[in-house]
Symmetry: C2
Subunit: 315 residues, 2 copies
């Protein structure tokens, strides 16, 4: 029974959406920047946002009106569907930069929902929390895609459909480098380049890569992951919008990456490696490639089987 | 050492290409009609086709010139790449109807290659035989797709890329019904309807289905296979070319099928079931649906983990 708890604090990790070959379908969490949500039970039957803080780019511009805020909407959805008599007051501390392609808006939803869950009389499973987090995430993206929310809720690599999350096994030696450059990618433009339809031959190649990727992951077979981790659908169209992308990807591959592509909607770039040592050696080279294109950046090295959102304290 | 063998006979099973969600990528063999190849070592450094027989539709129209025959070309390719001093004489017995969508041309290649392999001084692995079978198959299809050849070589469900075959595990309770109606689908027309490009949203849904299908198969989870076994890419365009398709598919689903779609390029229709009993109950209903549309048909019930091509005798 958690009914006597009045307040809980939870974090949600950043994530790499799409993982190249799984557009709007696959994602994995990373051990890097985090969003933290503090949720208090209040008697008033409503959701209020008390404050949004944090050094992360864009935190100051987020709406405080609960229904226009991803985390606020997630809690509204939780309250309504669970028919709760009480309400929530939310305080967000943004650690993940918005518009980075590292799941910044999803993390706020997930942290808020996981914190609020710790205050329910009967806490729900992660799977049961998924629709509420999706409801929140859709405020920012306009559509229900769980490729960031799902890996944050479950940890590691996750396949996300509209109705459920499926955790995929990932060998513990797999490591990721995610590099976030100081550049802004206009979401509208990033989406518009995907509108032109795709020929069947390309789709067949892409699905072959996805099938190899999933099989390699499931078998812990680096060579098969390497064959599969190669996006032909989205990367060729979006990469030209990210100055330095080709050089950063080349730097990763030169350092032995199994593959590299755009994280989420970009501009962050991720690469997968067979060991932590390789990932750590590649990270400065990837940053140097962004620097050569004129952009400062931050690099995060993490196991691909990254952490899941967790309650940090509750009282 | 097989060097003193002069003649070998092998069969190759029919197969279901694409399995709906894996266009040009997935296939599985079935325990149904078979092609049989008898291959003799001859001193002449060439490949000759002695005879093509069999009751299967179209057998009489197949070219006897080795380089224009799929099985002939497969043996030519084997001879040349292995730099054999001797040649082969081939006799084909067609059991799989041509133009049925059950892998008729692939089976001749595979049976010929497997029989010839038994006559090599040092027989090759199935993986090593794959490129020769693909070389043969491409004579008929014009492109190198292993979705029929690969499951015939390995048995069961196989993922086929241009360079290799990956066997996928399939639970033994999974059963398939493949129904071949007496109708002809013009290959050119079946291909032309696929030319118009596809929007991203459809591709995302299709890849989600493929990912669910592969995950369900790997976990032996019928509910997840059912979620995934649903082709949005090819079936909606090709189905209108197969009179009765919608009714046959509906009959399969009414009998509990996990999914149903077009086998290979059609006009055969396949459906997957959770048990042999369900498949056996559905088969007559699927045939009745074709009959109602005016077409006689044959139905084959088989484990999805079907047989692989095998040498029947060698001396």
């Amino acid at each position: 029974m958690n009914g006597d708890r009045r307040s809980a604090r939870a974090f949600a990790p950043a994530s790499v959406g799409n993982i190249g070959v799984g557009f709007d379908l696959l994602g994995h969490s990373i051990d890097g920047p985090r969003d933290v949500a503090t949720v208090r039970r209040i008697d008033e039957p409503a959701v209020r946002i008390a404050a949004i803080a944090g050094a992360a780019t864009g935190a100051g511009s987020l709406p405080l009106a609960a229904e226009r805020n991803t985390a606020g909407q997630a809690l509204i959805s939780l309250r309504e569907k669970m028919r709760l008599a009480y309400g929530f007051e939310l305080e967000l501390h943004k650690g993940i930069p918005l518009g980075s392609g590292l799941g910044g808006s999803a993390a706020s939803c997930v942290a808020a929902v996981v914190a609020a869950n710790a205050l329910l009389d009967e806490p729900l499973s992660r799977q049961s929390l998924y629709p509420f987090a999706l409801d929140g995430e859709s405020v920012s993206s306009g559509s229900r895609h769980g490729d960031n929310v799902a890996p944050m809720l479950l940890g590691g690599v996750v396949m996300a459909t509209e109705s459920r999350m499926i955790a995929l096994s990932a060998p513990d030696w797999l490591h990721c480098v995610a590099v976030h450059p100081d550049q802004v990618l206009e979401t509208r433009r990033a989406r518009s380049v995907l509108a032109e339809p795709y020929p069947l031959g390309l789709i067949v190649e892409q699905t072959m890569h996805l099938a190899l990727f999933l099989t390699g992951l499931q078998r812990g077979d680096a060579a098969t992951i390497r064959e599969g981790l190669h996006d032909l659908l989205v990367e060729p169209r979006r990469a030209p919008l990210i100055p330095g992308f080709a050089q950063v990807k080349a730097a990763a591959l030169d350092h032995g990456a199994l593959g590299a592509s755009i994280s989420g909607g970009g501009p962050s770039v991720f690469a997968w490696f067979e060991s932590k040592a390789e990932a750590e050696a590649a990270a400065p080279a990837m940053r140097a490639a962004f620097a050569a294109a004129g952009f400062d950046s931050r690099a995060y090295v993490s196991p691909v089987a990254g952490p899941r959102a967790e309650v940090m304290d509750a009282q």
